[in-house]
Amino acid sequence: GPNDGVTRLTLWAMGNEGAATPALLEEFHRLNPDVRVSVQALPWTAAHEKLLTAYAGDSLPDVSQVGNTWIAEMTAIGAATPVPADADDIVAGGFESVMETNRVGGRMMGAPWYVDTRLVFYRTDLLARAGYDAVPQDWAGWKRAMHAVKRTAGDGNYAILMPVNEFEQLLTFGLQTGEPLLRDNDSRGNFSSPAFVSALAFYKSLFDEGLAPTMSATQISNVWDEFSRGFFSFYFSGPWSVGDFRRRLSDAMQANWATVGVPGPDGPGASAPGGSSLIVFDSSPRKDAAWRLVRYLSQVDTQARFNALTGNLPAKVEAWAAAGIRSDDKLAPFEGQLERAVPVPKAPEWERVVTEMQVVAERMVRGEYTPETAGAEIDRRADRLLEKRRWMLDQGRAA
């Protein structure tokens, strides 16, 4: 019954985490018999809108996993609460670029749970067949390698898979240029800067030159099968795919793939610090218990177990050793990539801006825009989206 002295918490978790968290919580329940957590799983593709809908409908959970790019938005609408001053230990010891994404107005709004960033998965055997024993670390070299792969891959196969409805690839290329993506206190787009246009041009050229199929993720029935069939040899993804590939690829195939940092314009490149944080919602009447849960989930040993369950990379550097990640040749490259990570702008509208960016980029790939006109178009769309933010800044209502 509801009056049995037990605090009931709801935790929203996305994708894999939704499935894995209940196991992680058994220990928590043992340690905290007065708290009971129920986990609800959301699909990633619907998570953002679900969070906003729940916020609009006053039906947010107590705690939720959120993509760490969304924290600024959750803060702006007043949904998130800052990590309590006396609970700094929860967030201590993380990667700096990731910590930065959780910081809004100088306060930590979320506790990094796991980190990820994207790097390149590739078929060592196919690369070798094409005459390469390592992935070149600059764009030009990388593209040459892709051409070589494409030539040897056989009809109907490609070098790289970059689903045209995913923005992460282009975003990564954009971040690698070093030029900020928004300007004027994040109130205007900066996508027509020559740097970003060059990223657009590189992105587009991979499709134009037949290296990447013009496909969206919904059309790939499953990635690992296609990967092992050689439909593509390079794949842009995060740590979760390591687990997937290990589980789903055949034993024979295990020796034939590896991961490597993303090549940059001229040398190893940056990528966006991804991953999820845990936030406690301001609407929750059970914040104490909620922070207890967050603290538990942030502990080094919990994170290590979490890694074992999901393959997710711990947010705390200390946990990397505990989980033995550094000795894992597939995961080790992530550490370097994370250290090179560059945070994305913290405007609450960012999610939408980046979605528009991808919409335009997809059309560019399909031939509607050149890189230059695409950059201008993204700016135009971004500026419209940021109009309200400019007004709010004028009114002093936004940071």
């Binding site: 593709t45 953002h48 809108e49 906003l52 809908t53 916020y55 609009a56 938005e73 702006a76 609408i77 007043g78 949904a79 045209v164 409805n165 013009t214 496909m215 969206s216 919904t218 059309q219 029935s221 609450p348 939408r352 919409v359 997809e362 059309r363 399909r366 509607e368 419209r384 309200k388 007004w391 709010m392 209502r397």
Partner: protein
Amino acid sequence: MSAARTERAAWGFVSPALAAVGLFLVIPVFGALLLSLTDFDIYALADIRNMRFVGLDNYVNLLGNPLFWTAMRNTAWFAVLGVPATIVASLLAAVLLNSKMVKWRPIWRVAFFAPYVTTLVATAVVWRYLLHTRYGVINWVLDGFGIPPVDWLGQPETAIPAILIFAVWKLFGYSMLIFLAVLQTVPEELYEAARIDGAGPVKQFRHVTLPAIAPTVLLVSIISVATFFQLFAEPYVMTQGGPAQSTVTVLYFMYEEGFKWWNLGSASAVAFILFLCIFAITLVQLWVSRRLGSET
């Protein structure tokens, strides 16, 4: 006194329904009109002071928003291609099923109609796999005819036709029923008179069947236009608006604007434009049916 008594009872009977309609339909519609004149968004949801009255700005912005026009154009394509396809399919089915020579007609009638009652989301999921580029049954059949596989849902050029194949499959049974009902009102004697006049099957169709159902073709096309204007779940489930937003419909656009990005003001403006479109269609429909009514 008897009049007073029925009057009182009648109000008791109608007031719950009227209250519900007023509260949950009429007020929200006026609310939508008001909302469309504001920039109500997620910030306003947090703090109502963050809302501004912007007059017709939402409408003006929409007119300048390429995605809106994309949505309008896509929707128009859905209607322009879907309506004739639905009519041809349903008319063909109805004429076949109206023939006394066909066996098990009641069973076929129910079978053809069955897709209409199935859950759209579920059948959309099914069709997504039927339309799959590599493993889909449809490409397999095409393969049998030596046609190379088509990337149905992956290319902007084929995504609308692909969704339409599904939509027609789902919807044609309904129009078929209407046609069947009308065909059954064509008196048998008219066909016999035509036979005595020397008309063969083709002439009978041309001179007896077709004139009889002509008004219904119009009616069905109007109904179908309205239906195609309200496509939402099909793209939501099958393509999420892609590829390259080629399947974003007006309603899908409204949904994203409103419930994904929480720009309720702008979404309300979309809703109103959608309303005006459907309203115009319905006016035409009423006008047509009145015209037809007055002729009989």
